[in-house]
Amino acid sequence: MEKSNFESTQEIFDMWLKTYEATFGRIVEMPAMGPTRERSEKMMKGFSLFAELSSTWMDSNVNFQSVFMEAMRRVREKTANEMEGEINPEKYKEFYRIWIETYSETFKEFLKSGHFASDMGKFMSYFMEFQKFNREMLEENYLKPMNLPTKTEIDEINKELYSLKKKVKELDRVIKELSLMNPSNKDEIL
């Protein structure tokens, strides 16, 4: 029962993904034409990125849910074995202890697995790509037409500033070294 619930969620999602890939997914991959060709093609890329992100999110989600189910199963087993008799507040504390210990341990096992690391790595990659795409779209479609500075431009300025600061520091160091070598010419060097 528990397992079949997740399997159906996954099945529905897979069905949606397959349908998307066979229909709309193909349309958005078509080469664009006309004067807005470049912009349209970039915008359409967002649909594919979103589909990929959703797919990895679903994989991670299903895995997380399975771990929750396993943790719940273990808690049920432990409480059945360790907690008997009348229910009172001290028993609630005991239940809390079992709950936190079991959940903590079960999740640690999962988080340690290479499986989780690779899922998280994939999800983060798609998420970053999707966010980057959104920012680019915002820059292209709103900031640039309104003549407002974009993140890309600010980064360019920051890079220039970094290089200049580094250069100044280096020159400063050389001047100090030269003035130390020849203190009588210090004023000339400076």
Binding site: N88, P89, E90, Y96, I100, Y103, S104, F107, K108, L111, K112, G114, A117, S118, M120, G121, K122, M124, S125, M128, E129, Q131, K132, R135, K151, I154, D155, N158, K159, L161, Y162, S163, K165, K166, K169
Partner: protein, 387 residues
């Protein structure tokens, strides 16, 4: 049964009352002065606690992740204060909070730039050619790199819970780092948000760190409302909790290029321990480390497992080297009960004979150009900057 219920409710109520009128608390209260700044980096000098401190000054280098004041969280849990009381002349680097202009800073800028300039400044003030470098966590890794690149400036090297070997499965961060596409993260963020890293740290033990920790706080609250001592204890419990909570979530963002190189060269390729890591234009050769080395670890460290720190002792060429492992955790080593009782005294014990000028066997006053009383007047009691 009803009574037990009431006690729990009373504890919760008392705790909430304390939070509604939160007690004032401060961190980083050991008197200090800023003696040098460069960009966002500040070099802090702590006012010595003895008239004639040990001659060789100690420069503490903390990680870029989180803030340096964990080493001076409160007077009774302060590694810094303990070192001062033991007679050392202590400096620390405050890295500040990187912003957009810092995104292109590299490890070369941190190690050969900021750390090197701080070391030169301390050398100039003390009139000595060498100082003690005391690196903590990632700051320890940077200190190891520095000591290998500039061994002529370092008299002693102390590393505290510092990773140098990243090829281990013992820590979750080491496992996760292998699968992370760091280029995509840095290319998108530029400056990697501190909250992003915090999310990773919380994920190492989500239920304990996001639920149990807070339940534990209310469990500690006492309910004898007529007892003044009990009120004071409750207030102290809340203050201690808030100090730690502030530190945990006071997470500076990370300079993107440094983050990229640290992740790729250290966590993913493990170049440092293989003597293949390049900083600036120089390859870091750990065999160049020949000065006395003390490598300190926490047995139950879940962020920097012992396997990540231990190989340092075999990688260096120092003949005078020691390794200490304490039964505590990554944070416990700074603020846990063993920190003041065992960790700091053992480090001081090791440092003392190595902090005396060669052949002199005596302590020497520091040269600052200011009278001690003047320095005290000018010093600030808290050096914690707000974002």
């Amino acid at each position: 049964m009803k009574e037990a219920n009431l006690i729990d409710f009373e504890k919760f109520k008392r705790g909430m009352e304390l939070f509604l009128e939160p007690p004032d608390f401060s961190v980083g209260t050991t008197p200090s002065e800023i003696i040098f700044t460069e960009d966002k980096m500040k070099l802090i000098h702590y006012i010595p606690a003895v008239e004639k401190p040990y001659a060789v000054p100690v420069l503490v280098v903390y990680a870029l992740v989180n803030r340096y004041y964990i080493l001076d969280l409160q007077p009774d849990k302060s590694v810094i204060k303990k070192l001062l009381d033991e007679g050392f002349d202590v400096y620390i680097i405050d890295w500040g909070y990187p912003s957009g202009t810092d995104r292109y800073l590299t490890i070369d800028d941190y190690v050969n730039g900021y750390i090197n300039n701080a070391v030169d400044k301390i050398k100039q003030r003390s009139g000595l050619d060498t100082i003690t470098l005391f690196g903590v966590c990632q700051g320890g890794t940077f200190s190891v790199m520095y000591a290998a690149l500039h061994p002529e400036k370092i008299k002693n090297l102390v590393t505290l819970v510092s990773p140098v070997n990243f090829d281990t499965d013992k820590g979750l961060l080491h496992i996760w780092a292998r699968s992370l596409d760091v280029d995509k993260i840095v290319d998108y963020y530029g400056i990697v948000p501190g909250d992003f890293l915090n999310a990773g740290f919380l994920l190492t033990d989500p239920f304990r760190l996001m639920i149990d920790k807070y339940v534990g706080l209310f469990e500690k609250i006492e309910c004898e409302t007529d007892d003044g001592q009990c009120e004071l204890r409750n207030e102290e419990t809340v203050k201690n909790f808030l100090r730690m909570e502030k530190w945990i979530f006071d997470s500076p963002d990370q300079a993107g290029e440094t983050f990229r190189q640290f992740f790729k060269d250290c966590y993913q390729k493990n170049l440092l321990i293989k003597n293949k890591m390049v900083i600036g234009k120089t390859t870091v050769d750990l065999k160049k480390i020949s000065m006395p080395l003390l490598n300190v670890m926490a047995e139950f460290d879940h962020l920097v497992p012992n396997e990540a720190s231990k190989p340092l002792n075999d990688a260096v060429s120092s003949s005078d080297k020691e390794m200490l492992v304490f039964p505590t955790g990554h944070i416990g080593i700074f603020v846990g009960s063993r920190s003041q009782k065992d960790v700091c005294p053992r480090i001081s014990e090791w440092l003392k004979p190595r902090s005396i000028l060669n052949g002199e066997g005596e302590k020497r006053p520091i040269q600052t150009g200011k009278k001690r009383s003047e320095r005290k007047r000018n010093s600030r009691t808290s050096r914690v900057n707000k974002k």
